[in-house]
């Protein structure tokens, strides 16, 4: 470990535990607590990654979760942020975005073609000829992609959890810890969250050589840890701010949604890089990055450094470097060192050369990074005077030229920022109630001021959370010393001065974008992609704004700033998805179905039997089920239907208003088809409405619309002020349909209800006992045979079904599934809402004019339907085709084609053994059907299939079978038997 320093007070590593791993196949060792970058640097690795566009060598810049040029991957995970991810024993790491190896990346040749690859070149180069774009797109994507995803890898998906608290403090530095303590002391329950594995924030690494700061840090941490009202969550990134103080925290264990009553944002500030020639090569890093490497991991960032600074923090960093034995070649100050306080004087006293009013023109690169630095004085216009340049040999440049607030959460909460001309930093304006910005994000830099700011806001946040009134505590003012330089950007003749390291954007790129007219920061962002890389502009947006402002001769405020949307850092999709929870509903007869060999299918939230039998016998099984219903008796579980009870003196009025047909004139003991449209006249639901008494109805809905129809009813009742109550009994009752010419024969012995045609006619509803338990029976006809819907309490239904199967054994009763039901109803020409209708279908198109009672005064959608009726331009029609290989390939959504144009589509199609043809339903534009009744359908392989329009229903056109029941009709054939 060539760069590992002796132990540093407060370091994060455990030197007792050595961890071995590999990087590009080379063996590397680190300590427990090391970040990957730190361990690699400790082992003498200098080039840790390659840049996105030009594949230039890159290394540590911030060591703070923003080093997006140092992404690595394992076989299972990609784009691991090496600057913060901790090493684990046995890791086999590879860099991403490398063609070859880190040392010899073939794609680095792209640097030679830089002049041909300016910003936005792909917008201008690859759009013609149009047909070539897919070719270029594939190649660009292959080159531009970061990392490779192992799509076969199965992640363990964590549960998303909730956490309720009074006050959430985001940021565990001096300000945040002070706020947490203050809030807890005021009686609030506090969550203190920090993205780092340990508390401390900048207090831990900035001026780490100052023992008094170290003592202050220990004292604060001890106080926070001893406070029972504070829950500390480290390694927890606040990834966004949502309304009502909801802040999701992302941890290795998943997302915790913290719902707080007040939030203190103490997220600090991002140190910003300076823009000069070759400011991206290994060895150039933020001063805070170097301080983190040393204070956290005891890793020496370089051996001989030059510090470029525009604030007092740079001199403190210089002292830190000296304290660990690092050789300091020079300090370059963009202004006057005399204004930087005691630290600057101390540096001078130590004999370190200080270049006032100077800057770096470029770094001279050696084999693997910085070899020398060219320092030039600045003239009065702020330009570099290269005629007076000084070349200093060094392998490191540490920059300390300014900060940008880590303000994403505040922006997302709607806080406006403005430019502070003293600080040369964006600072927050008024904050919504219960939200407080403290510390450096608020422009407060002095340690004692930060603590006072934190305490004051912690107290206020606690008062907000607990509903207390407190006086306005005194808050410190913002720093009156600039901690940022107004324009730390310097021209470079060769144009290798980078503004955005994520996207390899240079000063020239942004200048060109501004010159091309992208004069708004949002426009420039989208054209140049500045701030759109993985670090989301944390180190580039501020300089980008400064550059655009200067190029357009505007102020920073006039230029504007961008709002970082959630997520603040990239969040693993597995964390966003959370545990795979797929609520599936099972009917009470699920075990019955399983015991009869059902193949289940998902129908919305329900698991339903598709058919009964082996998958290999699918066609045969479905045909047998259809034949059973047509010739004897079948039983289908219809528990999935929505079941809603409506009662009260206004029940009939409500029914009339909800449904297109008049319901108030249904006789007690009878049912009626119930069609519901929305206010735009679109079909949204259908079912049966049964009148149980003068003021009580029982209605069914489709399986998928029970909840939405119930909600619609609730809303309408409130809106209309009707005296009526409704109950959603969908899950509370089970239901079956026993159908077939012999169904009466099967059911008769099991019920006390008189099933005779006279006592229980078609469309009647009766209540009585089935197998000794209360039941509601309806004579319905969805499948076109004599049939009885039986609705019962779940436990009672289970017993009744067993009895029905026993009784029906003599007529070979069998359960039938969804597929058989679909075919049976298709033969009868009945539609399924959602399959034979879509989000634009009105009843007239669906051939259901008969279900719209226009003479009613009012029903939902009536006015629209009156307008739509004369405008109908398509119809749902039945069609048949002779059975052949092509006709059997017709499927739902195949298009009706006439004269080369799309003129409709199939909604349902199947082979009917009963009819002896392929039958179907299709929407067809008016005028499409030829004089001979034919039209054409294009199947998947492009062939056209000629079909013939047919009258509906295909089966039993006079409805005699469903109305009377075959067992009462002499001489009526049973078509199913013929098949």
């Amino acid at each position: 470990m060539t760069r590992r320093l002796p132990p540093i007070a407060g370091e994060w590593i455990n030197r007792e535990k050595r961890l071995d791993f590999t990087f590009e196949g080379r063996s590397v060792s680190g300590f427990e607590g090391d970040s990957i970058s730190a361990a690699l640097m400790a082992n003498g690795e200098v080039v840790l990654g390659r840049s996105f566009k030009y594949h230039r060598p890159r290394s540590v810049m911030s060591a703070a979760n923003h080093d997006v040029n140092v992404l690595v991957q394992t076989a299972e995970r990609t784009n691991i942020r090496a600057d913060v991810e901790r090493v684990e024993s046995g890791m086999a790491l590879m860099p991403v975005n490398v063609f070859g190896s880190l040392k010899r990346d073939r794609a680095s040749l792209l640097q030679k073609f830089k002049r041909f690859l300016p910003v936005g070149f792909y917008y201008k180069a690859f759009y013609r000829p149009k047909g070539m774009f897919p070719f270029w797109e594939r190649r660009i994507r292959a080159i531009a992609g970061l990392g490779r995803v192992d799509t076969s890898w199965r992640s363990e998906r964590p549960f998303a959890t909730s956490h309720h608290t009074d006050v959430l403090v985001v940021g565990g530095g001096a300000s945040g810890m002070s706020a947490a303590l203050s809030a807890a002391e005021a009686g609030a329950r506090v969550v203190l969250a920090d993205e780092n594995p340990q508390l401390g924030g900048s207090l831990h690494y900035q001026s780490f050589s100052d023992a008094s700061r170290h003592r202050a840090l220990k004292k604060l941490i001890a106080a926070v840890e001893a406070e029972p009202g504070i829950t500390i969550l480290t390694g927890a990134e606040a990834c966004g701010y949502y309304g009502h103080h909801l802040v999701p925290l992302v941890t290795r264990e998943g997302i915790t949604k913290v719902q707080a009553k007040a939030v203190v944002v103490a997220t600090g500030a991002f140190e910003q890089p300076a823009v000069f020639g070759n400011n991206d090569v290994p060895g150039v890093m933020l001063a805070s990055g170097a301080q983190r490497l040393i204070a956290r991991y005891a890793v020496q960032p370089c051996q001989r450094a030059v510090i470029l600074t525009a604030n007092e923090e740079g001199y403190h960093a210089a002292l830190d470097m000296l304290s660990v034995g690092l050789e300091l070649a020079a300090v370059v100050d963009l202004a006057a060192s005399a204004d930087r306080g005691g630290a600057a004087a101390e540096i001078k006293n130590k004999g370190i050369p200080v270049f006032d009013h100077s800057a770096i023109y470029e770094t001279v690169t050696g084999k693997s990074g910085v070899a020398a630095i060219e320092i030039c004085p600045l003239d009065e216009g702020g330009n570099l005077d290269r005629s007076k340049r000084t070349l200093i040999s060094a392998d490191g440049v540490l920059t300390s030229v300014g900060f940008a607030p880590a303000a994403a959460l505040l922006y997302q909460a709607g806080v406006k920022f403005s430019y502070d001309p003293v600080l040369h930093q964006l600072v927050p304006g008024d904050q919504p109630k219960g939200l407080y910005a403290v510390g450096r994000v608020n422009g407060v830099y002095d340690l004692s001021d930060k603590q006072v700011d934190g305490k004051a806001c912690g107290k206020l946040a606690a008062a907000d959370a607990l509903g207390q009134t407190v006086g306005q505590p005194k808050r410190p003012g913002r720093s009156q010393t600039a901690h940022s330089h107004e324009y730390p950007v310097f021209e470079h003749a060769k144009g290798w001065n980078f503004v955005d390291m994520d996207e390899d954007l240079t000063l020239k790129d942004l200048t060109r974008a501004a010159e091309e007219g992208f004069d708004n920061i949002e426009l420039m962002k989208r054209f140049s992609t500045i701030g759109m890389g993985p670090s989301q502009g944390k180190h580039s947006n501020m300089n980008g704004i400064r550059i655009l402002a200067r190029k357009r001769n505007r102020s920073i405020d006039e230029t504007g700033s961008t709002t970082a949307r959630p997520m603040f850092h990239p969040v693993p999709v597995k964390a966003l998805a959370g545990q795979r929870l797929r609520p599936m509903r099972r009917t009470v007869l699920h075990d019955f179905h399983a015991s009869h060999g059902a193949q289940f299918m998902e129908a919305g939230h329900w698991l339903r039997p598709e058919f009964y039998g082996l998958e290999a016998d699918r066609g045969t099984a479905i045909s047998a089920e259809v034949a059973a219903v047509r010739s004897g008796a079948g039983l289908i579980d219809i528990s999935t239907l929505g079941k809603i009870e409506i009662f009260g003196v206004d029940a009939a009025e409500l029914m009339d208003r909800l449904y297109t047909m008049r319901m108030s004139n249904i006789n007690e003991g009878m049912t009626r088809y119930a069609l519901m449209v929305d206010k735009t006249g679109i079909v949204i639901d259908d079912g049966l409405a049964a009148r149980l008494s003068e003021n009580r109805f029982y209605v069914t809905t489709t399986s998928g619309t029970s909840d939405s129809s119930f909600a619609e009813m609730q809303k309408r009742i409130l809106e209309w002020g009707l005296d009526v109550d409704i109950l959603n009994l969908t899950g509370q009752l089970g239901a079956i349909n026993i159908a077939g010419p012999l169904s009466r024969q099967v059911l008769g012995p099991l019920t006390d209800i008189d099933l005779s045609e006279e006592a229980f006619p078609f469309l009647a509803v009766r209540q009585g006992l089935v197998f000794g338990e209360p039941a509601l029976l309806m004579r319905a006809a969805f499948v076109g045979e004599l049939s009885y819907e039986i609705h019962m309490a779940p436990a009672a239904l289970e017993k009744a079904v067993a009895a029905i199967m026993d009784t029906g054994e003599s007529v070979s009763i069998r359960p039938f599934g969804v597929e058989a039901q679909r075919l049976l109803r298709l033969e009868k020409g009945h539609i399924i809402v959602g399959q034979d209708t879509d989000g634009l279908t009105n009843p007239f198109e669906a051939g259901m004019s008969w279900a719209v009672h226009a003479e009613k005064n009012y029903f939902v959608g009536k006015r629209t339907l009156e307008c739509l009726k004369p405008k109908r331009a398509r119809s749902l029609v039945g069609f048949t085709a002779d059975i052949d290989e092509a006709a059997l390939k017709m499927a739902e959504c195949h298009l009706v084609i006439a004269d080369g144009d799309i003129r409709g589509r199939i909604t349902s199609v199947a082979q009917s053994r009963t009819i002896g043809k392929v039958i179907g339903l299709a929407y067809v534009d008016d005028g499409t059907v030829r004089a001979d009744g034919s039209f054409h359908v294009r199947i998947s392989d492009g062939r056209m299939v000629k079909v013939s329009r047919a009258d509906l229903p295909f089966y039993d056109p006079d409805d005699s079978r469903q109305r009377l029941g075959v067992d009462t009709l002499d001489g009526v054939a049973v078509p199913g038997e013929a098949a």
């Binding site: 909730s162 609520p583 009470v588 109550d725 109950l727 209360p774 309490a793």
Partner: protein, 164 residues
């Protein structure tokens, strides 16, 4: 979390849903002290409860041997026995698990509160258990979600206990 909560089906009880303008009257006839505040609950000695869900809506959970009410349908009243899946969650860690899983703030909730929420992506009701049922929570949901909910509860609780 200090332990894994246990999940038990609650057998031997019957849950009535009483709805309609005569609901209050029907409830008062058998339980004069029934709560009137919405989403509050009074415990019954047998471990059951009477909960007010709205001005004209109640849940009554009683031992099935002494149901207090009978199913009834009038123009202004429906009383029927619900088929809800009923669970008793008890043991160490129940509170912690609920806090982590529910979007409701369960800190310092009054014991007489009847909660309606979504847990593990389905709608359910919950209340603190009492009397013979001991500590813990009663949870009820649509019976068609029973199997899903049981498994999801078990998985979630184990995950929570493991600190995941």
């Amino acid at each position: 979390m200090t332990g894994i909560p246990t999940i038990a089906s609650l057998d031997g009880f019957i849950l009535f849903h009483i709805r309609g303008t005569a609901a209050r009257e029907a409830v008062e006839a058998v339980l004069p002290d029934a709560p009137t505040a919405v989403l509050t609950v009074h415990d019954l000695v047998d471990g059951g409860f009477i909960a007010c869900l709205g001005k004209k809506e109640y849940f009554l959970l009683t031992h099935s041997g002494q149901p207090l009410l009978q199913p009834e349908r009038r123009d202004n009243l429906t009383v029927y026995a619900r088929s809800d899946a009923l669970f008793l969650l008890s043991g160490d860690g129940v509170e912690e698990w609920l806090k982590r899983t529910s979007s409701l703030d369960l800190r310092n909730r009054p014991p007489e509160e009847f909660l309606m929420s979504r847990l593990l992506k389905i709608s359910c009701w919950l209340k603190k258990a009492s009397g013979a049922l001991g500590d813990g929570y009663l949870i009820g949901c649509d019976p068609t979600y029973s199997r899903y909910f049981t498994r999801a509860l078990e998985t979630s609780m184990q995950s929570c206990a493991a600190g995941k």
